[in-house]
């Protein structure tokens, strides 16, 4: 993996409060796990940047190395890796995601 890909990923993660690396797009997700996380974020009415990893294999592999996490989707909030589909779903059901996202909504 090239350093430039890692830098690109790092820029995207740091320049956006909420970023989802996913397969497909929020409107046309191409994987059930990506679809679920995207739907959860929409339910929280939080704007988020979405990166479709299917468009670039270097990004697809690079994001796994970046977070030391083997699967996609991956959610980042305020430049911190939050988790994949299972963790985001658990946090959503436990109300923890609302806590995490609430301060971002107030900032508008």
């Amino acid at each position: 993996m090239s350093d430039s890909v890692t830098q690109q990923i790092d820029q995207v993660v740091k320049n956006n409060d909420v970023v989802l690396f996913m397969k497909g797009t929020p409107d046309f997700p191409q994987c059930g796990f990506s679809q679920r996380v995207s739907a959860i974020l929409n339910a929280h009415e939080i704007p988020f940047a979405a990166v479709n990893v299917l468009l670039n294999n270097e990004v697809r592999e690079g994001i796994k190395a970046y977070s030391d996490w083997p699967t996609i989707p991956q959610l980042y909030v305020k430049a911190e890796f939050v988790g994949g589909c299972d963790i985001v779903t658990e946090m959503h059901e436990a109300g923890e995601l609302e806590e995490l996202l609430a301060p971002l909504k107030k900032e508008g």
């Binding site: 996490w69 083997p70 939050v82 988790g83 994949g84 658990e90």
Partner: protein
């Protein structure tokens, strides 16, 4: 060639000896769902817990296991 659910469970137990592991297939022969309960998760973040499980699966996670729905937790007596 995907591992059998039993083989996946054995890989976890080799790496996390006290783990209470349940593995099922939910689609085809390479979509797994797994629940892992271990006292070694106490005080460990959810991300780290999942990373411990992924580490136990090693290269299988990158290759043969297409999808893994994972739930980790700590034993009730440890709470």
């Amino acid at each position: 060639m995907s591992p059998k659910p039993q083989e996946v469970a054995d890989m976890i137990r080799r790496s996390i000896p006290d783990a209470d592991v349940q593995v099922n297939l939910y689609s085809g022969d390479d979509h797994f769902e797994m629940q892992v309960i271990s006292a070694s998760f106490v005080g460990v973040s959810r991300i780290k817990q999942h990373q411990m499980v992924y580490a136990a699966l090693g290269d299988q996670m990158k290759q043969a296991i297409h999808a893994l729905a994972l739930k980790t937790s700590i034993p009730k007596e440890s709470i």
